[in-house]
């Protein structure tokens, strides 16, 4: 081979070496850049530590040996956690650069670096995705590691949480409504007295002949001309109810078609619409029965002591669907 050709080839090999060697290294290297830290020097310290740790995972994955962390970058506890997880399923990061947040955990005086995308290989060779979380102490050393939730799953969980909370809340409302129903069946005037607010608005629809109703309707716009609406105070309602309880040996009240509404702006205020079937008997009378639409406006700001602010009743047979009183009929003050 001509000498100049050898020199050219040597130059090519040198160039190849110069380019190939760093690119092989880059396959394993993951540079971590961090946001959310006020101190630039500390930020750089954490970035160097996180980059070293993730890169060590990548190198270990390729060599099938446990990750080797240099002492300045990991505490013994941090090394043990990763090695213990590693022995079960090795993992690596396929990204060459990551831009993440470092969140300070006040109670523990540590930082969490979340969102490291990792490929995990289980004992059967199957690979799957996990999100790694580095836990770093104040000196910038890896002090712990865990698998977190992927960001989209985390968001879904947060949304589900709101659903779970609201579901549980509405079950408590259902619990209250069923106890309220039980109070009528037990003729428990004390329970009913306790749950009505002192200034509760109580509206009872009374079925009357047309002549009788003329000019008497308190809330004319709420019903047709054969239903007279009577407004009662809590004391008047309880006195009337006590009289009904006394006159009847047996009362059977059943709620169905229960609908629960939350107020648009007052989160602790709920409306409940339902169909109430009432039957009462006594030896002295033939008994009485009716079916009506019941509406309750309930304040649940103290869940252990719900308070009824409004109770309305309308006869089902004389009330059109669009005339049923619900939360939309009231302005809260």
């Amino acid at each position: 081979m001509h000498r100049s050709a050898v020199v050219r080839l040597a130059k090519v090999y040198c160039l190849l070496f110069l380019f190939v060697t760093p690119s092989v290294s880059a396959q394993n290297r993951t540079e971590v850049r961090l946001l959310g830290l006020p101190d630039v020097a500390f930020q750089q310290q954490l970035e160097a530590g996180a980059s070293h740790v993730v890169t060590a995972m990548n190198l270990a994955f390729g060599s099938k040996t446990p990750p080797q962390f240099e002492a300045p970058f990991a505490t013994p506890a941090g090394r043990d956690v990763i090695n213990e997880l590693w022995s079960r399923a090795p993992f690596r990061c396929l990204r060459t650069s990551l831009h993440l947040r470092a969140d300070y955990i006040p109670g523990e005086d540590r930082y969490e670096i979340r969102g490291i995308p990792l490929q995990v290989k289980d004992g059967f060779g199957a690979e799957y995705h996990e999100e790694g979380v580095l836990i770093v102490d104040r000196s910038g050393k890896l002090d712990g590691f865990k698998f977190g939730l992927e960001a989209h799953r985390y968001r879904a969980l947060l949304e589900d949480r709101r659903d779970v909370q609201e579901y549980a809340h509405r079950q408590k409302i259902l619990d209250f409504v069923e106890n309220y129903q039980t109070a009528y069946n037990r003729k428990d005037i004390s329970f009913i007295d306790n749950v009505f607010s002192e200034h509760a608005l109580i509206i009872v629809g009374r079925v009357v002949q047309e002549d009788e109703s003329r000019g008497d309707n308190l809330f004319q716009q709420l019903g047709n001309e054969r239903v007279q609406f009577i407004r009662r105070s809590k004391l008047e309602y309880l006195a009337s109810l006590r009289s009904v309880f006394d006159r009847n040996e047996y009362i059977e009240v059943d709620f169905s078609e229960i609908e629960i509404f939350r107020h648009h702006t007052r989160e602790a205020i709920y409306g409940v619409n339902l169909v109430q079937r009432w039957r009462s008997y006594s030896t002295a009378t033939e008994g009485y029965r009716d079916v009506g639409y019941l509406f309750l406006l309930i304040d649940f700001s103290d869940e252990t002591k719900p308070m009824v602010h409004v109770r309305t009743w309308q006869p089902q047979s004389l009330t059109a669907e669009d005339e049923i009183i619900d939360m939309g009929f009231f302005d809260l003050e």
Binding site: K146, D160, R161, V164, Q165, A183, Q221, E257, H309, G328
Partner: protein
């Protein structure tokens, strides 16, 4: 006659609650984990070597599955702090026999709340899960800790119990804490409900003013 437990047993909601309270407070310690060690259903892949029972959702966020790790040809109940949510689900659904989880539990009764004296959370969960399908969901309490809601649904009698376990875990530190309290709501009927999430529109005519300040 609808299959309603109150009609069949001739007891109202308050009496049903008293009867359950009496049963719970006279419980003998149970072999609590036995129902979870060998699931009777085929497991499905969850991720990696983790498998779950077929998930069933009662409501978004309230799910029925339990988690297992495949070890060779065997499946073991998952107990792994690194898989926080799966571990926490199993922690509640399949209490470890050596963890009685003794906390203050109260039962919402007719018109009051009553302590379930001496009842361990593990025993309570085991007792209720025998006849009911259990669904578990998580949210966060006022202090920011994870709170668990456990629903025990009885399909035939169309009712459910709800157990809310407060301060059960710290999501940030991914550890299970000693729970501070739990509240049990019982015999919540579902057959008489038209909608738990009704929508209303404000009435266009004159509206009635109501004072709602206590």
């Amino acid at each position: 006659m609808p299959a309603r437990i109150d009609l069949i047993q001739g007891l109202d909601k308050g009496e049903l609650g008293e009867k359950l309270w009496a049963a719970l407070t006279s419980l003998e310690p149970q072999q609590v984990s036995s129902t979870c060690e060998f699931p009777e259903v085929a497991l499905i892949p969850y991720r990696g070597s983790i498998y779950s029972t077929p998930p069933e959702e009662l409501h978004p966020g309230l799910r029925s599955e339990r988690f297992y790790r495949r070890e060779g040809a065997n499946y073991e109940l998952l107990r792994d702090d690194q898989l926080f949510w799966e571990n926490l689900t199993n922690f509640i659904a399949c209490p470890a026999p050596d963890n009685p989880f003794a906390i203050s539990i109260v039962q919402a009764m007719y018109g009051s709340f009553k302590e379930l004296d001496g009842v361990g959370l593990s025993d309570l969960i085991y007792f209720l899960s025998r006849d009911h399908t259990m669904y578990i969901g998580f949210d966060r309490n006022d202090e920011g800790y994870v709170r668990a809601t456990v629903i025990f649904k009885h399909t035939y009698y169309a009712y459910q119990h709800m157990l809310i376990i407060d301060t059960i875990a710290d999501e940030r530190r991914q550890i299970v804490l000693e729970a501070s309290s739990a509240t049990l709501y019982t015999h919540l009927r579902s057959d008489n409900v038209r909608s738990m999430y009704g929508q209303y529109i404000d009435h266009t005519g004159d509206r009635i003013k109501v004072g709602v300040n206590r």
